[in-house]
Amino acid sequence: MSSWRALDRTVAGVALVLLAALALVLWRGDRVSVTIVRTAPAAGSQAAATAPIVIEFGQRMNAASVEQNFSIEPAVEGKFVWSDNTVYFLPSQPLEVGAQYTVTLARGTQGQIAHELLEDRVFSFEVRAPGVAFLRLEPSGYSLWAMPALDAEPVQLSPGDGVFDFTVASDGESLIFSVVNEEAGIDLWTVSREGGDARLLLDCGVDRCFGPSQRAGRIAYTRVLAPMTPAEPYGPPRVWLYDPKSGSTVRLHADSQKIGFGPSWSPDGQRLAYFDGGNGRLVVLDMRTGDEVHIPTMAGVVGSWAPSGEYMLFFDTLLIDGRPVNQVYRANFATQDVLPFFDPQPLDADYSGPVVSPNGEWVALKVRDLENLASEQLWILPADGAYAMVAVEESGSLYSKYLWRSDSQALLYHRLTLGSAESAPSVWLWERSRNASRLLAEEANQPLWLP
């Protein structure tokens, strides 16, 4: 039995040593910090007023812990949105231009399954003034241009012409634009705000991909499939999603009967609105639950999201005395009702294209006299529509693509003057403080803020 005792003693001794070593390892605690792969805006950089604050982790995180340990100075209200290992903090109001913000993720922030942040992660950035991007008509098509600041010289961003449309990322660092290719299809391209580095994002071949919308790392666009033979017409438009990380693209709905175009993300990137031309309605799809809200309208365009995402302003076309007249409506997603923006509805004029300001307090819309449709006015109203003031009015001018500046104090718009030799399109800025407009770029179309 002596040898048994030797083995017993050896096993007991080894077990004790192993247990002691385990106790030591546990006592020393976690020596591995949660890794942060990327933060945006980059530390010390100039950032857009509308930029989401992004922290990409090297592992899955405990969302509640991250959100508790996140802080920003000066304090800003906002919402957290998660995409895999990345958290997006989306400020509910645009950041203040010229201000410096400091973001801190405190030590102790926990990963989902292990590890925690061993030291505070702090980064600061300054909010820059916005520029403008627009399309310019060249002899053989449109090209994409940008003014990094309002007084800067325009710079061409697209390598050539043939640009169909474009969008600007919410962080203002890049633009996505659609370009007609050699097969008569339309591809998606991307370029930085400085230009010179345009690259193909999505080769659509003979299909036509356009109308991109980007939010919180997600891109939605409209895709029209090419016919099997040249004699056949193109198919109906459908909304597709593109994942910039993997480069993969999928149809929004697996059901090919669901058609639509003009996707527009909600401010928090959790819902997607598009126009369903087959059924004459706006569809607002909740990407988390798959629930849909349907808003009947014949206007054929998606409305304007309120910054909170609680409601959308849109317009619909009514037939009054056999004449089409546009009227503005408010679709409230919380109460699931659609009500006229004006009460009672002023049927003596045509109201369309409502755009809610970033602070949610103001609305800009276009008004046309039913007796003189060739002349338009841009109106500014409080969000409840209690009163209105005319911001821009010039006889014989048409306005489109008007967008609020991030501080809600100015309006960028496209003007086309008819009936004169100066009918070239141009981009203008209306400033509330002066209640006056100034020319930003001539020969320019489809302007967007470049935050």
Binding site: L7, L18, V32, Q112
Partner: protein, 339 residues
């Protein structure tokens, strides 16, 4: 013949029991509401048994071939005399005998009888289910040439060699084994004490003899595989995986949960890498490794098979030592390596 009869009895009773329940349910027009655990149990039991039986058969075939074609003296001559080298050689022997944890038990028993030392035997038993080309390739297929593959191989080898060396303390290896393991008849009717030469006869007759030995051993070990599979299935039916997984956070607890899961699931090492992929991202890398390293060494059906070869106390040590070593290694990985 008695063993075969016993095995068939167990299988027959199990099949009859299931058939009876299903017949009664059908006869009653589906009126008998069987608990969902019954279906879980039968599914899991059949899954484990069908998965493991071919590998047990391979192991017993290898055992039969070793018995018939290798002289005890020849094997003893090529075995390292140094304990450490013996344990290391045992750890790497899986590359010569690529058997999983079910097949390795009868083969090890046969090699013990042929004179293999405890350090080498235990190391072989512990390591070969992982350190063999099939399992390495399946782990590669699941994880690629990454840290999980290398750490699985390295930890399995280190723990097997260390455990083997601890058992080398025992100077009389026979005391580790059950008497029946030592008296395992190479040829029915012959005494173990007789210094038999290698089985005589033509190649055909020797192969037939090897198959006969393999068959007997398969049925002998098979009944314990059935009982072990039933036990594992019953425990899984009673303790749902979800309950365990819900507990699996933290550097230590996640390891303990995954080790318990490995023991309960009793999955063959040739496929466990693919099963473990489901836990990646939910569990720590260390805990996934604990599943991949401990499972092939210690699980319910293994323990029952071990008990047919080793004394109870030996089996107890063969469970305790790897468990402690795996906990230490994988908790260390969780807390100190950023993988």
């Amino acid at each position: 013949m008695k063993r075969v009869f016993n095995t068939l009895s167990i299988v027959g009773l199990a099949v009859l029991g299931v058939a009876l329940v299903l017949f009664l349910q059908n006869w009653m027009g589906g009126g008998i509401e069987l608990p969902s655990q019954f279906y879980t149990f039968t599914t899991i039991f059949l899954g484990i048994f069908i998965e493991a039986a071919p590998f047990l058969l391979l192991g017993t075939l290898a055992s039969g071939l070793v018995e018939v074609f290798f002289k005890k003296e020849s094997i003893q001559r090529i075995m390292p005399r140094n304990r450490f080298l013996g344990a290391l050689a045992g750890g790497l022997l899986g590359f010569v005998f690529p058997v999983c944890e079910c097949g390795v038990v009868p083969l090890t028993r046969r090699l013990f009888r042929k004179g293999m030392g405890p350090a080498m035997g235990v190391a072989f038993l512990m390591a070969s289910p992982v350190l063999n080309p099939i399992v390495i390739l399946s782990t590669y297929a699941a994880y690629g040439w990454g840290p999980v593959l290398w750490l699985r191989v390295a930890l399995s080898l280190a723990i097997a060699v260390a455990t083997g060396l601890i058992f080398a303390v025992e100077e009389q290896p026979a005391r580790l084994l059950r008497p029946s393991s030592l008296s395992l008849a190479p040829i029915r009717g012959a005494s173990v004490d007789v210094a038999l030469p290698i089985y005589p006869g033509s190649l055909g007759s020797r192969l037939r003899r090897a198959l006969s030995i393999a068959g007997e051993e398969f049925f002998e070990m098979g009944r314990y595989l059935i009982i072990g599979s039933m036990l594992a299935a019953a425990l899984q039916a009673v303790v749902p995986q979800g309950t365990l997984l819900a507990l699996g956070s933290g550097p230590l607890l996640s390891v303990l949960v995954m080790m318990l899961l490995a023991v309960l699931l009793s999955i063959c090492s040739t496929v466990d890498a693919f099963v473990s992929l489901a836990f990646v991202g939910t569990f720590t890398t260390g805990s996934v490794l604990s599943f991949l390293v401990l499972g092939p060494m210690v699980d319910i059906k293994n323990i029952l098979l071990y008990l047919q070869v080793f004394r109870r106390r030996t089996v107890l040590y063969m469970v305790i030592l790897p468990v402690l070593m795996v906990i230490l290694a994988t908790v260390f990985i969780n807390l100190n390596l950023g993988i």
